[in-house]
Amino acid sequence: MKKLLYISILLLATSCFKKDAVLPKKSPDSFEINLSIKGNQASYINLTNLQNSYDGKTANWHLKFQNDELGWYIYLNTLQNVAIHNTTETDYDLVDQDYNILDLPWQLDIPASQGSQPAIGEWGDFNFPNPKSFKNVYLISWNDGITSFVYKLQILDASTDRYHLRYGTLDGAITKSVWITKDKEHRHSYFSFKSGSDIQIEPKVNDWNFCFTYLQDSIISHKNIPHATTINKSFGLYQGVIINQSNTQIFLDTSNSFDDIDFFFARDLEYNTIDEIINLFYTWNINSQSIEASENLTLITKDENRYYALKAEELEGSSIEDIRIKLKIKQL
């Protein structure tokens, strides 16, 4: 009886929760991005599965349309020398070959504190479920690599899931009307004047976090950094990163070493939901006249409950027009 009593008292105090096994720490991955203004103009990274990242090659698109339910922005592809001018005329036929296109102030999309602002501006009243277009006729300048073109463009209307455009040459030789569908599986739809139809550029919305590409900004904002020229002399093309706002938030850290950054640090940060950053991972060394990786910068990102730290490990290129960035990526 006494033995049973002792055994029972012992069992009353015994704990049986299983302890966790210690797992080996994972080493960071490496990922290489090769960008070129004439070649691979965009590189998409999928942090969840780096194998599913992909290069956009030459992006032969001219207009980019927001697919968000409440988003109605239309962006231009500066890499194809696309620029825009608002004639403020609403009669499509009145803008013809007699319209003076010399020395026009061609506009480009510009980065702003609230995100990239399209040069086309607010083309309609978006307070309606089906936005009402102001019907302004725009002049679009674009280039197919050999020849420069000037088209006229009018946004006719939009319904909750489509944009309706009319475009053509100034002499009226070409006049087309197209519907661009808001494809919910992608953040943006892309349109090419050359093919006259929408084209597939981006991976699906959940299949990418960052797009490394070239973005335009005013030259004054980046005085000491080389740039590629654009149709607008005040603007240059710089290496930039587009952030997929659907799934990715970011934090830029310059005070901790890459090795010291762990999940517990990343978990409590306040993240930003900006849409693009220019000249992120490099600085320009005036002495050696070359670009260098920013040693102290770590990009920390949050994708739902996943956290990643990214750092430029190596950076090669005599100019930004042809650049190789080797990233070190670790999931936290």
């Binding site: 009353l12 978990r267 999931q331």
Partner: protein, 606 residues
Amino acid sequence: MAQDSSAFFTFTSEDIETNNIQNLEGVLRLLPSLHQYTIDDRAITSFGMLSLQNIAILKDGLPLMMDQNTYYDLRSIPIWDLEKIEVLLAPISNTIKNSSAIIIKLFSKSTNPIASESAIYIINNSASDLHANLQFGFSNLVHTAKIGINRSFTQALYKDVEDRGTSISAAERYDLNFRYKFQILRSLSLTISSDNSLLRSKDKGEIIEGTTRVRDVNQDFNRHILRGSIETALSKNHMLTLNGLIHRYKNGLSTWDKDLSNSEQQQYYGKDIPYSVGYDQGYMQLILTSKNRTLNYSAGVELSNTKDNQFSNINAIATEYADYSAFGMFEYQFRNTFKLQGGAKLLTNSLSGSYLLPHGRLTLAPNNELQLEATYQKSLSYARFEELFYTSDLNNGIQNNILLSPIDLNSFNFRVLIEKKHLRIQSGLLYVNKNRIPQVSNLNTLTNTGKSISTTTYASLAYKTDWINIRPTVMLHGINGTRDTTSLTFFYPELNIYGHIQIPNTSLLIGSTARFLGKNSSTYLKHNKIFLKQVDGHRHISVSIKNTFKNDKLSVLFGTTNLLNTNFISEKTFRLTNTGQELISDLDAVASRNRAFFFKINYRIK
């Protein structure tokens, strides 16, 4: 008279042993008439369209889980001190809330008069669960005392062997229960009892892909109940009873992020985590009963106050309410022709007003072997605490409504009862009408617009002799969860066979439990859309063999639970559309823990 004892089914302490059950959740999983499965580490229990929140559970006649309008982890309620558990369908009782259709009553083990006894038992099974228990009892006719301490550890359940994420968390519970009765005078007695349990569980998460990280939820559940009862005979026929109860519980939940590569862990305080809840309840009941040859009656008052002990105020509104009730009941029998029982309860709730709750029963030929009975009852069930008090950030985006009326429960029960010396057969139809169910509108607000109906056709048999005790039951449940919107009714059957056989001229007792449940389908309305939930049918069979030695001092029991190893089932949710149904979710649910072999050694000193 105050309590109807004609149970539809009695779950005995032998059934508890055969199925190696350690807590109330385990009992309700196997209790005929109830349907239970576990999803996301939470047991979901129902009877037809009634959730567990609409079913009164009493221990020794007093409420066990407050007003049942909150999720209460039933693993925290031990059953080692119970003699039996009864299921009563549409019983006549003085229980005011949640009592219309079904009441579950728990009865504590009694202590033999003029004796002292001690008992120790240990249970171990092939899943590495371990339960140890010590009990001491003493009685000298004037003083009767019993105290028990218990530790119960149940291992986690995993879907796959390599999983880290638990389907049911590992849980460890410590109990300290005592009961004391003082027979002050022959006609005056005082009973005090207390139940105290601490439950710790660890709900482990899967390793986040590509990392060495996990997110776990730890639970610290504390419950403390103190009951007191004083009973005095006012005359030969009159008895006055004063019952009181203080109940406090806290379900503390904490979320932890862990890095398994260096064992570092930190608590996580984000908004997307389960939060701790807890309530205090004070309860008092005064009853006068009178027993006569033809006319019996009882009358009484009941007071209770319930208060949140985690969020005492939300948006400057106190999260508490009080109930004031009065009840009167009578029972009149005219020879052997009929027996009429009736009465009414008047409930005043401090939040929602007053309600009159009548009930009545007519029994034909009450002394015959064959009796016919028809019962009507009306009762109330409160909306869940989070629906009443908690703002949208604590309630999945749904805005609370403190003005919600209680859910209205009405039941009609028609029963045929045949009672002989060793045999008891009953069969009937129970119709339950549930109105004013809180529903979520398109604006994520709550309104009392829902209606549901369920019918249960049942039959049970209990045959008991010195050697055999067999109790089969069969039921067919019909459910219409959205009576306000559609006439869709779904049916599911259940068959239960519980039995024990004492082998003649030996000490061997063989027990078995067999339970078969059909696919359970029900509809509900949310955001003005109809959803259909389907839970797979499942089966459960357990067997045990027990032998006693040394003049019943030592007993050894071997058994197997869930012999067919029916563990994981699916819970599918569809959205019903004009043209068909669209699958919304397909989740793994747990019908029962894995098959396990167990043994129990019990040693008693008298």
